[in-house]
Amino acid sequence: MAYEAVIGLECHIQLRTRSKMFCDCPVEFGAAPNSNVCPVCLGLPGALPKTNRAAIDAALRLGLALGCAVRAESVFARKNYFYPDMPKNYQITQYDRPLCVGGALPLSLDGVTREIALTRIHAEEDTGKSFHPERHGDRRVSRVDFNRAGVPLLELVTEPVLREPAECAAFLTALRRLVRWLDISDGDMEKGQLRCDANVSIRPAGSSGFGVKTELKNLNSIKGVEKGLTAEIARQAGVLAAGGRIEQATLLYDADHDRLAVMRSKEYAHDYRYFPDPDLPALEVDEAWRESARAALPELPWARAARVAERYGVPAYDAAVLCDQRDLADYYEECAAGADGKLASNWLMTEMLRVLKERGWPLAEWRGRVPAGRLRAFLAKVAAKELPGPLAKQVFAWMVDEPGAVEELLARHGVRAQGSADELRPLVRQVIEENPGPVTQYLGGRTATLGFLVGQVMKKSGGQAVPQAVKELLEAELAGRAISGS
């Protein structure tokens, strides 16, 4: 029997706020263990949380970008369970009254755009980090670092509307792009800034019921999400094919060995005893707060890609690449302003992105070297046919590592684009004299022969002549001959 998967994702996004969710400790990666802690995030007796408005602002940005409804009064709740890296043995999160409800993420996959419906987005605090036990003689010692305890997290939950592992990977890629676009998180899965759990069940293809679902944890890369889900769907199909039943369970995916391990079965499911946190009054987001967050939203990536394609006349694919990062889109639009958008897109997508990849640079490094104004001047010369193709590529390469305008670069390297008629006329005349056959053919109406003659002039110039200028000069010279020779 053919099965289809029903997948819902639960994503955690670590926010890049200055301070933690409920205290003033800085959010900082790589600090010495237990150096960014205080009575609140250590859960010391008597300490109380206070909500970081910047984290709520970030949650509002994401929620509004995804078209969620924002609850005017949402509630922080306690999720109670014992774990050594959780200082209070409860996590402050949101439960039955989350901040954002509904919404959808537009996802383009294989040229088709789908809206992936969301259930909710809420704010909560992260836990600390436990380190695996070390042996000290006959004692085992575990260490805990609470620097991460209390760092703001957003939890985003999708409806069970995803069907394919590849679609889930695309969802995470799009989510990662969005949180970076909104500047609320670095979204790096390897660093745990974006985490993903998946609920997955399978059912006969085409049916509308739901099978027993399992929860897949530890999917800590986009590739891991895809591989883990593929493995779990295959496992479930295998169980059903063998006449077995799927047991509700939580599984861990081991990406190194492409293996699934049962973490806990249903009998050990936690009873988290959620209840409203009495230390925090209901979180009120009035219209003014909500609307100021909405007004602060940047143009969203999918809208921007559509506008860029339309306004600059670039293909949808190019527009999507250029709008993958906000700073790239900004840079592109600055370069394309008043220039040939398609030309700008070609140079950015082929030449610049190649250099960035080769050198491992962030865009900021590039922009420091080639500000938009500099690139615009270059593009203007290319558009005006003042830089022949090979020379343009050479100049572009020089621009990356050297300062100065195009003319200065050419002068520094002893190269001058030969464009003036006075410079080129002797070469043109020489080529006409040396190639009577092609000249006759051209004059007889085979205009395609002109390209051959241009090439000959270019050769004589050592590649430094501007082809368009050569072409125009050749045409003029040949036209004169046609008249005089007839």
Binding site: G46, L48, V144, P278
Partner: protein, 502 residues
Amino acid sequence: MSGHHTSAPELWKRSARALAAAVAAGECDALAAVNAGWEGPAAAWERDVHAVVHADPGARAAGAAASAPGPLRGVPVVVKDNLCTTEYPTTCCSRILAGYHPPYDATVVERLRAAGAVVTAKGNMDEFAMGSSTEYSCYGPTRNPYDLARVPGGSSGGPAAAVAYGLAPLALGSDTGGSVRQPAAFCGVFGLKPTYGRLSRYGLVAFGSSLDQVGIFARHAGDVATAYAALAGPDPRDATTRTTPAPDVSGWDLGVAGLSFGWPANLWKEGVEAEVVAAMEEAAAALERAGARRVTFDFLPGEYSVATYYLVATAEASSNLARFDGVRYGFRHADGADVRALYTRTRSAGFGPEVQRRILLGTYALSAGYYDAYYLTAQRARTRIRREYAAAFARCDLMLMPAAPTLAFRLGEKVDDPLAMYLSDIFTIGANLAGIPGFTVPLGLAGDGGRTGAGLPRGIQLLGPEDAEPALLRAGRVIEMGGERARLPRAHESEFAWPTRR
């Protein structure tokens, strides 16, 4: 003790206001003021009463030396052992916090210091404030200075007893269901539980977070007002504090002319002792003498309030006390094979029986399948109780109520009967559920007229709507001065009914 004599009373007998004035005027130095209780009555009382669990002469001297100019300059204050103090351990009188030294001061402790006061001891209490007699302390019980065979009430029994015998003119406790007001009544001192959100809970080790409120003990109404003014107000570290400025209580001696107070006509069915009824009558008479109007109506605060209270408080406590697990601080059981065993053994050995009982109750109330029946129902009942109080305060400015149905009971009398112990809170828990202020006012000692409890302190309770502290203090002052209008102004010091050895 120093040899010089003045006509003024000994330093330890003075009110906080008088003591601060003496220090400010240079009549005595802060160290003498701070140590007065220790060098005076403590020698006679502390060994038997056992009001104090942590004290340190060095810390007292350092505190006196650092005492800032302010309304409480040089005033010694006993602070309940569930309020974080950097110079003394803070253990909530629980083995599980043995040796725990907080790295920070509670906001109310900071504010005490800013007003010039000096914390001179940590007061005994029922473990984690769970109890009504101070018998559930890991350090052993506190005894009532007026009768050492009796309890001081609880859970803030240590601070109440310390103020009563003269160790300090001022003490801080916490009141989750009456833990300030009931011991104040049993020990014959004033005890204010402010409006929820008026005194910061930051640094108060939580029991029932939505009910907990720091409270003030003193021997004089004016001292309560002075302390309230120094402590109350918004705290950015406690999101449940009210953001508006605290009400102005400086008019505490202005009397009650024009105010009305409610008299619960049907209360006597609740097994209230005759001495308590007598104290109620005297208090009502004093208020009437000073120009207040009595409004009589039936008022039984929340039929379901005890059940509601024990569901809300234990549910919150079960979560609040989860952090005590032996991993980061306090007691850790030596025999922890793995982390689960460490949790179980540490908590089983670290918490006393009453705390374990309440954690289990609260865990149960929040469990899947029971949450709606217990916790949610309790929240609905709580809303109803709030409305019942609001309706009562539509008819009067204040309500007169017993603080407890009985005078101080005997040690051991209720310790094995949790339900009887819980029912002794019946008149106090409503204020915590409704978030309103309550004020216990002493009415001297029970007479010898053949009734039980002769020589024991009597106290009544005044309740008001939110932010009614100014009216409560004025009414408390009126009762303190027997309703004599001429003696209301603050220049007149009240007489305190000091305990004698029995």
